[in-house]
Subunit: 208 residues, 2 copies
């Protein structure tokens, strides 16, 4: 693909994401996206079959953004402050792709292929959470080892919590802003706090 075509393809994703976040994907058509960009609908269809195709590509792009969080220099030594950084960067990504989290269950029920991709991603990425547990372990921050079934339950709860954070915020009348999102997501550190050595526990605190 030429640079210009690649650029158009990316611009379509960015424009779609902007409009989806603004109005919800249900009220945005491919025509709206083409119009916003000043390109013809035909040009858009050259790159994407339909809106569902765009949404699937947005999901893949989000996962690539998440992957970058875990890319560290080989000699990077994990410490407790990394947890805050991982949380911060995750919040940025979740806020950037917020329409996806807000509409999650509707989107998945309407597009079987998206649902298939998402379920696979969820299964694969459980390892990211496993990675946190391993890093904390190798940095010697645990007070004692966490039994396997306890750890897998905490990971399942953490995933569910973050996956559904937008719905929880909405049903609790919490406005979806970046600072609010950060505050709510930060609560997830309490899932591991009691297992840390006492000297590290005090480094974890979320404003109420």
């Amino acid at each position: 693909m030429t640079e210009m075509k690649k650029n158009t393809k990316e611009q379509i994703l960015l424009t779609a994401l902007k409009l989806f976040n603004k109005s919800g994907s249900h009220s945005v058509t491919t025509n709206h996206i083409a119009e916003e960009m000043g390109i013809s609908p035909g040009n858009l269809y050259y790159h994407y079959k339909n809106k569902e195709h765009i949404i699937r590509e947005i999901l893949i792009s989000m996962i690539e953004d998440f992957d970058l969080i875990w890319k560290k220099d080989a000699d990077h030594k994990f410490s407790i402050t990394d947890i805050a950084e991982i949380t911060d960067r995750s919040c940025d990504i979740i806020y950037r792709y917020r329409f996806f989290y807000i509409e999650l269950s509707t989107l998945l029920s309407r597009d079987e292929e998206l649902s298939r991709i998402y379920t696979k991603i969820k299964r694969d990425r459980t390892k990211d959470f496993e990675t946190i547990f391993h890093l904390v372990e190798s940095a010697g921050l645990w007070e004692k080892p966490i039994p396997l079934n306890e750890r897998s339950s905490l990971i399942f709860i953490a995933w569910s919590y973050i996956e559904s954070i937008m719905t929880s915020m909405q049903t609790s009348n919490i406005k979806i802003t970046k600072p609010n999102l950060k505050k709510e997501i930060s609560r997830a550190v309490y899932l591991i706090k009691p297992y840390l050595k006492p000297e590290f526990r005090n480094m974890i605190n979320v404003p109420i």
Copy 2:
């Protein structure tokens, strides 16, 4: 209202609940409900304005079922086994009203009044979770007190986890059956396990 009319009103709710659980509320009309019961649509409309009205009454009925969990004899002494019983009974209710949990975000986005009622319920019922913490405290099961912001975060996570349990199960390819639901909901006890006295921690275990 006469007994017979009251009975019809209740039967409509039960029939609607059965059909909603079976096919999803979106594909069930008031005509389907009347037909299933062998009554005229006019008779149904005598009791309920529309489907949204029925769904709101189902939510209220669910909350009444939850209330019964907390009704104990005045001389009942709380013990660690009560947590398992509370979990069990909550699972029964959640499974009984499962369409509501499965469709939560769609239902709330489509009916402003339902959303308003639900948000109020969520706010009020945070006290149920507070109650668990108080009961555990008065039974002397905590190893040490849980700081307030930590407790409120754990309660928020627990609510979010249970509220979105059906979506989490679906996105993890876990079939929605009563035993599976019970297993996934039981994981929530791990949120409080690390705070219990060691002798009680071992009484909490969830099969993996």
